[in-house]
Each structure stands twice: as structure tokens, then as C-alpha cells.
Symmetry: C2
Subunit: 272 residues, 2 copies
């Protein structure tokens, strides 16, 4: 096997399996190559990914040690992704009765949620979370992509308690904007007590769902290490939760002028 | 830039963007390299991915032509994935009241659905589909991963018509096992008339949901090019749909003996 073949193979394997820990021996066996050779190949792969601003290959020592690829997204790529998203979101035909926006096509677009997942994974890469948690339905794709990049299990709270969930914990929460009482439920076996989670959702108005998820996690004795939402509405100004990380702020939606005010969360950029 | 750097970069970009068409010029500009050089690099990248049985780099001529990575999964990798899945599925503690199985952790496991998506993407890679369609909730992750690999939009039918979906089409369908009438709805703007879709879902008993989705697609004048389900129950023998592609067959679930009969769909293997 040639050097370029080994480097190409390493990059493919790591790109496909973000945050999974591989031993050096795994690659030695795969390539029938010496440790010194594989170490050099890994250094080359690390430089290539770093040059592309696509993430780092980290080496950790010890019994649980090994090599893992921690993906990221460059500021330029993030900006390009979100600019395109905003452009699509600002299409006046998205405005529905009551000033709601049709966003299903965007939230189910694999290319968008893959990129948004990279931004969340970058933001929460050192959160120490054990799970990514969301509430069904439209937040599932972006939460899954985030979980995939962080190599964490995804946990999805349901709006109704389904028989296929077994014993469930149900809580009531107030949908912040309407003030209506809603219910969410989660399988009792879904989360380990005493662990840590990040919450990812597609949209936040007053923060009712996120607050509900936080209350739910409290029932499981699970700490919240971060909250990411794709779109946060500017109104109401008073949210039921404080610390959250949005990608986009949604301002006024003018049904008559078919105008949709949007701005990027500039805190995304120039952090690293 | 060294040859191995260019090859590594090509593999990373293509691995991250399956089935997206790139022009040769894209890579020429990126690397500041001649077309002949990039062509050689692409040939090397193609050989590396082929040697790993991870898919093909296809070159198409013409105005819409270019280079794209068509991912696949080897029979060995598919078997390993499904053996592990079966092993986890056969855990007797998954058996719920009424003989149902708890599968949420598996269907929301990024590593599993990524692999299952590869098997479906391999099966349906030449289906000519424009969309991947599913019914919420537990089928969303595997459907998203399939859509991601095929570079197609995901469309999710909802159980209730939500205000955030705008004008919807709702249909009634019979949940095959219980005989109960259920409802599903889909935004009118979600699908283009006259297009083609594949259906992906997590579980099929009598086929009610899949039949419902097919009826829904008929309302949109959308042809069905294939149906994939992760688990198909052996019973009832008589399904409401005939042609479907399961990964796993679920046999008898014995609540007392805590025994779960499972077998792989052997048609997955040795097809290519």
C-alpha cells in the first residue's frame, strides 16, 4: 500500500466516524504497517484536515486512549451555510396564517442539518455531554446530525406517551407563546441518572419546549450542558430560559409586505 | 500541495458530501492544479474508496456532468452492523406489555442509522428517486441518513396536521394490526407532482403506515420507486403491501421466556 493510499483511507474512515476512538493498532493491522509508519500517516492526515479547517485528529494516551477525529466547520463555511439558509427562509411564500413560517423543507434538508449539526458540534464539543436530547418532530434531523458528529446517542421526547416507549415519565409544560398546557413524555429507560445532556431544537419562541425539556431532564437527574436552537424568535423578549445558542434570530414577520426579518447570531463567528 | 494532500482532501470532501456533483474545475481551483493532475488524483481517490468497498467515484459527461461519490457499504460491514443490531434487539428486557419491543434507543442511535442508511442507499441508488419519504417519528433518523447519502430531500408526513405545515393534505389509513383508523397529513407544498420517491420507515407489521404513505403519495401524483423498512414483522403473514425491502425479520416474541426471534434479510447480501 502506498503512503497516499493509507492517508486517504485514514481520512475516509475518520470522516465517516467522527469522535469515535480508534487505537493505533487498528490502523497498523488494517494496513499491515509499522506503528512509526502509521504515526506519520496520521500526522499527514491531521495536517490535511487542519488545512481544510475541517477539524482535528486528537491523540489521547492511556488505557482509553487512541485517535479520534473531532470535526468542526470553518467560520467561512458556517457563514455560507447560514447565508444560504437565510436567503431561503426569507422567501415570502413561507409566511403562513398567523405569521408562522413554513420551515419543514429546511429542517428536513440533509445538507442544511448536516452543516447546522457541525456548528452545534463545534459549539458543544467540550461540553462533556452523554446525550443529545430533543422534542419531536422538526428538531430531530438537526439533533441527529449533532449527535452523529459528537458520537452521542440521541434521545427524543414524545408529545404523547406511546405504548412502544414502555414505562414513561410525563410532564406538563406551558407553550410560552400561547400559554397552553402541553405534555411531553420520555421512556424511563432513555437516560441514565446523573448524566449530562445537550438540548437541540429547531425553533424557540418563548422557550416553552426547551424549558419543558429541562424540567424533564431534571426528573432524570440529568444536567444540561448546553442548548442549541436553529431559529430563535426575537419576540417575546422575555424567554422562559436564558442561556441558549441560536444560529439565526427571527425578527418581525410582516404578512402584508411579505417581509421576514432575519439576522445571524454573530457569536457563532470568530470564537476559535 | 503534495499529491497525498490533494488525494486526502478529495476523499474528505466527497465523503462529507455524498452524491453531490462537483466539476473537475472545482478541484482544479481549490488545489491550483492542472486538469491532468486532478484527474490522476481523482483516479487514485477512486481506487482507494473501491479498495475499501466504500463506494464509487463516478464521472459523468455533459452539461450537468461532473464527479460524484456514490457511497456504498460492503456485505461484510452490513453483516457486522446488523449482527450487532440483532444482538442488541434480542435483549429480553426490550419486551413490553403486549409483546411490543422497545426500539427507540436503536432507531435513534446515530451509528446504527448511519449504517442502515448506507444499506438503503445502496439498494435504492439507481431508483431515480427525487425524495425520501417517511411518517413521523421513529423512522426519521434512518430516513434522514438515507436521504443524506442519496443527496435527496427528506419529506416527513405528520400524524396531525400542524399549523406550521400550512395547507395540508390529510388521509385516513387503517393501522393493519389493530384495524384502527388513523390519520396522516402532509404539507401541500412538500412534494412536486409527477416526481418519484422512496419510502423508508423503522417498522412494519401489517403494512398500514406504508400503505398510507403510498396512498398519500398517490394524492400528490408521486410514484414510489422502493420501500425500505428496518424491521418487518413476520406476522401477520398477509401484508397490505407486497414489495418492500426489510433489513431484519422479526419472528415470535415470547413474553414469558423473554425470547425474541430475529433473522436477517439475506437478500441484502451478495447482490453486488
Amino acid at each position: 500500500m502506498k503512503r497516499s493510499d493509507r492517508i486517504g483511507s485514514i481520512i475516509h474512515i475518520l470522516s465517516q466516524n467522527p469522535n469515535r476512538v480508534y487505537s493505533l493498532n487498528y490502523f497498523c493491522d488494517l494496513f499491515q504497517a509499522a506503528r512509526s509508519t502509521v504515526s506519520e500517516d496520521l500526522a499527514a492526515a491531521r495536517d490535511i484536515l487542519a488545512a481544510m479547517k475541517s477539524g482535528q485528529i486528537e491523540t489521547t494516551a492511556g488505557a482509553k486512549g487512541g485517535i479520534r477525529y473531532v470535526p468542526t466547520i470553518s467560520d467561512e463555511e458556517a457563514r455560507e451555510l447560514l447565508d444560504d439558509f437565510c436567503h431561503r427562509l426569507q422567501d415570502g411564500s413561507r409566511i403562513l396564517a398567523g405569521g408562522y413560517l413554513y420551515t419543514s423543507d429546511l429542517m428536513f434538508d440533509p445538507n442544511f442539518v448536516r452543516g447546522a449539526g457541525k456548528i452545534f458540534a463545534r459549539e458543544f464539543s467540550s461540553s462533556g455531554a452523554d446525550y443529545v436530547v430533543t422534542l419531536e418532530t422538526k428538531g430531530i434531523p438537526v439533533a441527529l446530525m449533532t449527535a452523529n458528529l459528537l458520537n452521542l446517542p440521541l434521545v427524543v421526547a414524545r408529545r404523547e406517551s406511546k405504548y412502544s416507549e414502555g414505562t414513561t415519565v410525563s410532564i406538563n409544560y406551558v407553550a410560552g407563546s400561547s400559554g397552553r398546557i402541553q405534555k411531553m413524555s420520555l421512556a424511563k429507560r432513555a437516560l441514565k441518572h446523573g448524566s449530562t445532556a445537550i438540548i437541540i431544537d429547531d425553533f424557540m419562541r418563548a422557550g416553552g419546549s426547551v424549558k419543558g425539556l429541562r424540567d424533564m431532564l431534571k426528573e432524570f437527574d440529568v444536567a444540561v450542558a448546553g442548548t442549541g436552537v436553529v431559529i430563535a424568535s426575537m419576540l417575546p423578549e422575555k424567554k422562559t430560559v436564558q442561556d441558549y445558542f441560536p444560529l439565526i434570530y427571527l425578527g418581525e414577520v410582516d404578512e402584508n409586505a411579505k417581509n421576514i426579518d432575519i439576522s445571524l447570531n454573530n457569536e457563532i463567528f470568530d470564537k476559535k
